[in-house]
């Protein structure tokens, strides 16, 4: 494994108005690895992906992708940079008015001048890699959730990017589709020499396939490590998250005044 860094996140802060979403994030992702970013709902994981993709600007700090600071690029340079990135959205985000074939061919037609016959071969190759070559003529609304995500995966590797970001790739899938997607992420990363960032809260599935894990809670990195370290970790937050315990550092109860006070049990005797 080479130690060459593809993505470097340095002291990254982001806030919506006065609400801080990310506070001083520090990350480093080497080429060729599958990195998972885990955390509860609303912990700022998706925001981090958007910052890497350059769709939003950080409040301070920076994200460096292949040596370039993402938020300092102008529009054209950013678009050029994004051709080296792929992103798999939560529910695939396939273009509903295009067939599976045209969805996968979309970027090739937009960004290259390849002849139609070559596009056809390439599309079928990409679809074959996700096992859906036979479904190239279907429309997105004829696909199941797992198939749609596989097509979206084929679409995001269409131009052989250096990086693929997966936004909650395991949400709402049955166990079979789930492990199919998980294995595809691992296999494609290794076969194409890409780097993958998987944003998820599915602990068990992702620990099987990733090389390194970051835990984000309340906008800061709460813990990090290899899957082995994470499983054996005794840090309370990691332990709660990995084993799915109800109460712990992340409390079951939303912060409130005391139960007794809410039910007016104390005031009556005051």
């Amino acid at each position: 494994m080479t130690a060459e860094t593809l993505i470097e996140v340095n002291d990254l802060n982001f806030s919506y108005g006065a609400r801080a979403i990310l506070k001083g994030i520090q990350m480093s992702m080497p080429r060729g690895q599958v990195v998972a970013i885990m955390g509860g709902s609303g912990s700022g994981k998706t925001t981090l992906l958007k910052l890497i993709g350059g769709t939003i600007q950080p409040t301070s700090g920076y994200v460096k992708f292949a040596g370039e600071v993402v938020h300092e690029l102008n529009r054209d340079a950013l678009f050029k940079l994004r051709r080296k990135m792929g992103m798999l959205f939560q529910f695939g985000a396939l273009f509903t008015d295009l067939s599976v074939f045209d969805n996968v061919a979309f970027q090739m037609r937009e960004h290259t001048n390849l002849p139609e016959s070559m596009i056809r071969d390439l599309v079928l190759m990409k679809l074959h890699a996700v096992g859906l070559r036979g479904a190239h003529h279907l429309m997105p609304n004829e696909l199941s959730g797992g198939m749609a995500r596989r097509v979206a995966l084929a679409r995001s590797i269409a131009l052989d990017p250096m990086l693929i970001m997966y936004d909650e790739p395991f949400t709402g899938l049955d166990p079979i589709s789930l492990s199919v997607i998980g294995n595809l992420i691992r296999r494609l990363t290794d076969a194409l020499g890409m780097t993958s960032i998987v944003v998820t809260h599915d602990v068990q599935e992702s620990l099987k396939i990733v090389d390194y894990v970051y835990f984000i809670a309340d906008g800061v990195i709460a813990a990090e490590g290899t899957p082995k370290e994470v499983r054996e970790s005794i840090a309370p937050f990691v332990h709660q998250f990995v084993h799915g315990e109800e109460d712990g550092p992340v409390p079951f109860h939303y912060p409130a005044q005391t139960y007794k006070k809410d039910l007016n049990l104390e005031d009556n005797f005051a």
Binding site: T55, R82, G86, Q90, A93, F95
Partner: protein, 265 residues
């Protein structure tokens, strides 16, 4: 309750500022669409695809409504004009009201509710299902690839639809008055032809429909692009498209009419 008065005044002020703000955003978006139209002109196939959805699929409602509006105009016009013994002028009445006003205006209203709402819903849904974001991440500008072709298709279809509406209306008027009631065919056409002027009536009606086309599709694409990415957001935006563009059509019609026919009979 002075507090309530203050808060309601604040509320009104807030709403006014909010709508002026939105208007500013919409104008900036409109200019952005125009600036990024290069792709749709270079790849005209994209516009042709949208022409099918906005133009061809609006044809049926335009043809049928035009026919009925013309028939009603013919019937009502005949009832009134025959009291003065000038029922042969019914052709003039039908043609002038259609070419100058009803053709462009009613066709635009129908277009707003048929094609405008569809454009808003489609773009809003693409936004809600992250298709626009996905496109952006694939280094393809959604305004150039999704919005601009729909805008130009709408702008192109509107004058055609208005003209088809007017022709169907004249035909409907002809059907009722000449074929059913029995007004003299020769005087129907000749009175119409001597009264309708190419430059003042037909060209001005054509210009009106071009304005309406730009207004309706600009509103439709903006509302779609600006819709909150939820189911309620998209349905609200669709309703707003129809309401706003109907109001804009009627207001714009008044302004254009005042400009075009000012000081002329």
């Amino acid at each position: 309750m002075p507090n309530r008065i203050v808060s309601s005044i604040q509320n009104i002020g807030h709403r006014v500022i909010e709508s002026v703000w939105r208007l500013g955003v919409a104008s900036r978006f409109f200019i952005l669409v125009l600036l990024k139209s290069g792709t749709s002109l270079r790849r005209f196939n994209l516009v042709i695809r949208e022409l099918y959805f906005t133009g061809v699929l609006s044809l049926i409602i335009i043809v049928v409504s035009g026919l009925f509006v013309g028939m009603v105009l013919g019937l009502q016009g005949y009832e009134t004009l025959q009291k003065y013994g000038s029922e042969s002028a019914v052709g003039t009445l039908v043609a002038l009201s259609l070419v100058r006003e009803l053709g462009p205006v009613v066709a635009a209203l129908l277009f707003a509710s048929r094609a405008g709402s569809a454009i808003t819903a489609e773009i809003g849904l693409m936004k809600a299902t992250e298709q626009l974001a996905a496109m952006g991440m694939m280094a393809v500008d959604p305004i150039a690839r999704v919005v601009a072709p729909r805008f130009w298709a709408g702008v192109i279809s509107m004058p055609f639809l208005a003209a088809i509406f007017s022709v169907m209306g004249v035909f409907g008027g002809y059907l009722v008055t000449v074929v059913f009631i029995g007004v003299d065919e020769g005087s129907f056409w000749s009175q119409m032809q001597s009264a309708v002027d190419f430059r003042f009536d037909i060209l001005n009606g054509f210009i009106k429909s071009c304005f309406f086309g730009v207004a309706v599709t600009a509103i439709a694409v903006f509302e779609g692009y600006d819709a909150p990415p939820t189911a309620e957001g998209v349905s609200g935006a669709t309703t707003r498209t129809v309401v706003t563009s109907s109001l804009v059509i009627l207001g714009l019609d008044f302004i254009l009419t005042a400009f075009m026919f000012r000081g002329v009979s």
